[in-house]
């Protein structure tokens, strides 16, 4: 059964320098609070995996903790560019950022292979694109029945996956609902799993669209109300679109970003965590 722990302890124990870390959540249920705790603890030299790096990885990249990014779409959804991501790629600030770049279909299938205990997955993808050129995690495989050539992508098995969910019970069983994206696969592909939740409840009540992760498939759970802000947790909060819009000017400028990071993350100890 998963341990229920304070977020700072769980991050200190589960997320380590040099780890490959996946923080997933497709617009919904993005584990911002856990990412901020990683920044506060200065866990560094990370390889970050995520289909949509989003503002959460823009912040980690800008904080200088990331050496490599595995991803498929790096924008500020509905707004525009991720300026810290661009600055790292284009100018190497605050450090160079190595990229392992895929399509969504490829990333999703990399997690599927990882969750399935397979070394690779097969898909119809990448044909004719420049994405396959020089990537060490995209190849081809030939169907032994038809002779057709298909794309193969390498399994993605993070050292640790971090997600945010709506609820857990006291045994660490986790319940999430709404758009649940690729979270189950990212969790099951990982060596260690940290789940932040809106609340810990006595009993999980089955509900439409609910996805349950058994406590024995999770390493640690931390109760962090609002831990997905500025993304949202269906049933608890709505997406803070203003935050995403405001992020654009903040992140465009290195100094403004640095000041923001100090004021809103580094100096704010364990904000909103129990």
């Amino acid at each position: 059964m998963a341990d229920i722990r304070p977020l700072p302890e769980a991050v200190a124990d589960l997320v380590r320098d040099g780890d490959t870390v996946a923080m997933e959540g497709f617009t919904h249920l993005i584990p911002f609070a856990a990412a901020h705790e990683v920044i506060r603890q200065g866990v560094t030299d990370l390889t970050l995996a995520r289909m949509t790096p989003d503002v959460i990885y823009d912040q980690l990249i800008g904080a200088g903790l990331v050496k490599k990014l595995i991803f498929s779409w790096g924008g500020n959804p509905g707004v525009g560019s991720l300026h810290r991501f661009r600055d790292a790629v284009e100018n190497g600030w605050p450090r160079p950022l190595e990229l392992d770049e895929h399509s969504h279909a490829g990333m999703a299938n990399r997690y599927v292979a990882g969750a399935s205990g397979l070394p690779f997955a097969v898909l119809r993808g990448y044909r004719g694109t420049d994405l396959a050129c020089g990537s060490g995690t995209i190849s081809t495989v030939t169907c032994p029945f038809t002779g057709e050539e298909l794309a193969a992508v390498a399994a993605l098995n993070p050292d640790v996956t971090v997600i945010h969910a709506q609820q857990a019970d006291r045994d660490g069983n986790v319940l999430m609902w709404g758009l649940t994206g690729v979270q189950k696969e990212a969790v099951l592909a990982a060596g260690r799993v940290l789940v932040t939740v809106e609340e810990i409840v006595d009993e999980l009540v089955p509900r439409p669209g609910g996805v349950v992760l058994p406590g024995w498939a999770v390493t640690a759970v931390a109760e962090v109300p609002g831990g997905a802000h500025p993304s949202y947790a269906a049933g608890y909060s709505v997406r803070d679109n203003d935050y995403y819009q405001a992020w654009d000017p903040i992140s465009r400028d290195r100094e403004r970003f640095t000041a923001w990071l100090r004021r809103n993350v580094l100096d704010r100890e364990g904000a909103a965590t129990r």
């Binding site: 560019s81 991720l82 284009e90 969504h104 999703a108 994405l131 050539e149 758009l179 669209g209 997406r239």
Partner: protein
Amino acid sequence: MTDAPESASPDELMTVNAARALAGARTCFVGIGLPSAAANLARRTIRPDLVLIYESGAVGAKPARLPLSIGDGELAETADAVVSVPEMFNYWLQAGRIDVGFLGAAQIDRYANINTTTVGRGPDRPASRLPGAGGAPEIAAGCGEVLIVLRHSTRNFVDRLHFVTSVGHGTGRGDRERLGLRGRGPVAVITDLGVLRPDPETAEFVLTELHPGVTAEQARAATGWPLRTAAHVGTTAPPTAAELTALRALTNA
């Protein structure tokens, strides 16, 4: 606010005509931004039964307002079904179940190949980093057909792509078959100036329609390759009052 429509802006002409392009579609895989606006407008005008599919997992979404992102809660709450992202890409998109893929782009070339990855800025500057592929490569490969909507400028309509993120018609007719891509590929590029469609023989995109008041010369000037025109270049029908009212209600909601 649904005042009597004033004259349509170029962006409105683009979106209205993009919506009209969905007249025959049953299911549409919707990219965020301009494609989402057009697909939602189609549901409110000519195609009320159109099934909107968003890569975040929503099948049959019926948002009351335009979502800012593909993961807005509204999409899940109004959907016929919500599926995981791997299921979406494998069972629904890859299997060739979706009639129309509706994409935006940063850049396209004359065969409607798409670049959303990186753009060169000359020898002395690092290439400009764009968001990347997202779902587009497999949407472009696997949907029955593809519509592209983007604003017309020489920055967007380029002679040669720095990076091919998603394949339109490759280097010309027959390339999709050679690559084993199963959908028919892009059938129209709808812009704020008019509509381009592929030449039946070469698959090069040529100007087939202009919006009212736009000239072929304007379109040529906004295109980074020598834009050819169809034998007959039509004029798109002006937006109806109903279309403009619906569009403005949608974008102001």
